[in-house]
């Protein structure tokens, strides 16, 4: 098979609109694109002129799946620009809300978007008839994660109570105790999930890849909320404010989202597997056990194992949520006013959201209005790497005599394994920052 044409308009079971186009002529790839055809969003423009404290509520509307993640990076960026130090209680609540979204997002991706490929169906819907216990388990875990978010933030999609400087609501001890019991009970569902993923045949692909993630230096925690930028090729930490030393953006015509490279590599990966490769030593022991059980070892360079890393992180987040709730119950939560700004300046907020490293940067004027904003989205950072992986997969499968349908499915599975969030990624900024 010397000539192959693959065109998939709007790849399914993805968040947002992406087209896959591959041309092979006389055995050579003449073009290969994951075209991002989502509408341009203009969020940086929306932000200009709005007050500093509106940024989290505006930017969380970038994406329904990762709206807690955007809220988190946004409050951190604005607080850095305003000289705000939040209370220990606020950080505990933020982490619990954040874990809720990680669990929700990972479970949604694993069960609703990825698993159908492995079970040979087009969606989770037929599984309701053939594998009802699997679907019920997925819904139970997802609901627990949503309820966790709702107790802290009011709801998962576009959280309400999380603001610059603190929270306008605190969950009651009864709510926390109820959630803790359900989190403990979910260990059985996690074990079943691990058993399911152990059976799935993960395609093989090994390509030398740089993995970029946050890391809490020293003997710190597995980095989600805090940390500095490291990578598997350059482990020396970079401070959040200097993120431009690690992320180099460029514009390509076939994508309404910018591509990214690092000083070390023409493309790099972020996300669960990148976090695992950089932070596996800080995983909760239960998560490390599951990693061992399903055979995930660092460094892992097979992008299809991003799914496996999401499973391992789900275990970590459930166990960490239980520990957070114990701390809250021990100290008791009290209503606190939001901390007020000390100044209006420039600030960077980073967070490891479900799909990887998220950057929010803001410049405020002297009245607290947003003058400039820059947002770098995990999926945007992964796009160049996804294309590089596809360039490795296509010749190998042609060599092995795979059919066009097999190649197409494999490429779609690859794209889904990165769990791209295209609504998020479709905006990029092309301005000169004046220091």
């Amino acid at each position: 098979m010397r000539n192959v044409t693959i065109d998939v308009k709007h790849v399914t079971r993805l968040e947002g609109h992406g087209n896959l186009a591959v041309r092979v002529r006389d055995g050579e790839i003449t073009s290969l694109q994951l075209a991002i055809v989502e509408s341009p969003r203009f969020f940086e423009s929306f932000l200009r002129g709005r007050m500093y404290d509106e940024a989290p509520h505006i930017t969380c509307r970038i994406c329904g799946i990762c709206s807690v993640g955007h809220t988190t990076a946004s409050v951190k960026g604005i607080e850095a620009a305003c000289g705000i130090e939040v209370s220990d209680q606020t950080i505990l609540l933020r982490k619990l809300l954040f874990f809720g979204e990680q669990i929700q997002s990972h479970v949604l991706h694993l069960y609703f978007l990825a698993v159908p490929d492995f079970l040979g169906v087009g969606s989770v819907i037929p599984l309701a008839a053939t594998h009802p216990d699997v679907v019920r388990r997925a819904l139970r875990m997802k609901k627990l994660a949503n309820d966790l978010c709702a107790a802290v933030g009011g709801r998962h999609i576009h959280p309400i109570a999380m603001h610059v400087g603190g929270f306008t609501h605190t969950p009651s001890d009864e709510e926390l105790l109820g959630l803790k019991r359900r989190l403990e009970a979910s260990r059985a569902d996690l074990a079943e999930t691990a058993a399911l993923f152990k059976q799935l045949q993960v395609p093989a692909l090994l390509r030398d890849t740089e993995y970029v993630a946050l890391k809490v230096t020293g003997n710190g925690e597995y980095a989600f909320y805090d940390g500095e930028i490291v990578s598997t090729k350059d482990p020396s930490p970079t401070k959040p404010a200097d993120y431009r030393n690690r992320i180099v953006e460029s514009v390509v015509e076939h994508s309404a989202a910018k591509h990214c490279r690092s000083p070390q590599s023409p493309s790099y990966a972020v996300g669960a597997l990148a976090r695992f490769n950089n932070n596996h030593g800080q995983l909760h022991p239960a998560a490390r056990n599951v990693a061992g059980e399903v055979g995930l070892k660092a460094p892992c360079r097979n992008p299809f194992h991003n799914n496996t890393a999401q499973l391992v992180e789900t275990v970590h987040c459930i166990e960490s949520s239980i520990a957070l709730i114990d701390t809250m119950l021990q100290h008791g939560l009290k209503a606190e006013p939001c901390v007020r700004p000390q100044r209006f300046d420039r600030g960077v907020g980073l967070a490891e959201v479900p799909r990887g490293l998220l950057v929010h940067e803001y410049m405020l004027d002297d009245r607290g209005r947003i003058e400039n904003a820059n947002l770098i989205i995990p999926t945007g950072q992964n796009l160049a790497n996804i294309e590089a992986d596809m360039r490795a997969i296509v010749p190998a499968m042609l060599e092995a005599g795979s059919s066009k349908e097999e190649i197409t499915l494999r490429l779609e599975m690859l794209i889904r394994a990165y769990d791209p969030c295209i609504s998020c990624a479709t905006h990029f900024l092309d301005i000169e920052w004046v220091d």
Binding site: H17, R61, L108, L113, S123, K142, K143, V251, S423, F428
Partner: protein, 247 residues
């Protein structure tokens, strides 16, 4: 015959489609009562013979316009879900800036690669049969709508302000804390979720009536002395009110 359902997304965050998947307790029952035949975010199969089409997102590009016309032709009943589809949503913030300005700011010299128009609710382009507002859509209201439709009963949105639900829940009024809340002029149906979690109403479900808006505008001016610009900025966030002046 089960009704054939589709879920589509235009310019937006797809949070309203996601909210349907967050009906975990009722999802299997819903899937039993209807047949989902087109839902890009959740399934591979795609059919175009559709009884009820739900659309989230605003019309914000020439491509969106073509898509929504296609959806209208393919669906017997078309339902706008969420603030973007019902009001234009957060996307309308760009409508108050010059196109050259907001496009150039984000895309620089390459702005022409990415065509865009003013952001509009889908009813500005095609006939819409029902609207389920909110940012995000209220999933319990979605469920109530589906039940009404399956039972052949007329569905109506609440025709009173968020304050009614807020009082019912026993929340202290945010105005007593000096917070400018848009609840008095905003359509109820969200169970006053934002004030319940200590935050002001941001009018994501739209204006309940011109009378409520006029009365609230008067109170804000004469009793609370809030500058008109501040009220307008609040009402513009999700496209609830886009005029240059309050009534």
């Amino acid at each position: 015959m089960k009704p054939r359902i589709a879920i589509f997304s235009l310019t937006g965050c797809e949070g309203c489609s996601l909210a349907i998947l967050e009906l975990e307790d009722q999802l299997l029952a819903v899937l039993d009562a209807v047949e989902i035949v087109n839902f890009r975010e959740g399934m591979t199969e795609r059919a175009w013979d559709i009884d009820i089409g739900f659309v989230d997102g605003a019309v914000s590009t020439p491509g969106d316009e073509a898509e929504i016309r296609h959806y209208r032709e393919s669906c017997k009943v078309l339902v706008a879900i969420g603030a973007c589809a019902c009001l234009g949503g957060i996307n309308t913030l760009k409508n108050h800036q010059l196109a050259a300005e907001y496009r150039g700011y984000v895309y620089g010299e390459r702005a022409a690669w990415f065509p865009t128009t003013a952001a509009r609710p889908i009813a500005a382009v095609v006939k819409v049969d029902y609207e389920l507002p909110g940012c995000p859509m209220v999933k319990e209201e979605f469920l109530r709508f589906v039940k009404h439709l399956l039972a052949g009963r007329q569905f109506r949105l609440p025709d009173y302000a968020v304050c009614v639900e807020c009082k019912k829940r026993g929340n202290p009024c945010l105005y007593d804390r000096g917070v400018v809340c848009l609840g008095p002029m905003t359509r109820a149906g969200c169970d006053a979720i934002c004030p319940t979690y200590g935050s002001k109403c941001e009018a994501c479900r739209g204006i309940v009536s011109p009378e409520a808006l006029a009365a609230a505008a008067l109170n804000l001016r004469d009793q609370y002395h809030v500058p008109q610009e501040e009220v307008l900025a609040g009402l513009r966030l999700y496209g609830a009110y886009q005029e240059e002046k309050l009534p």
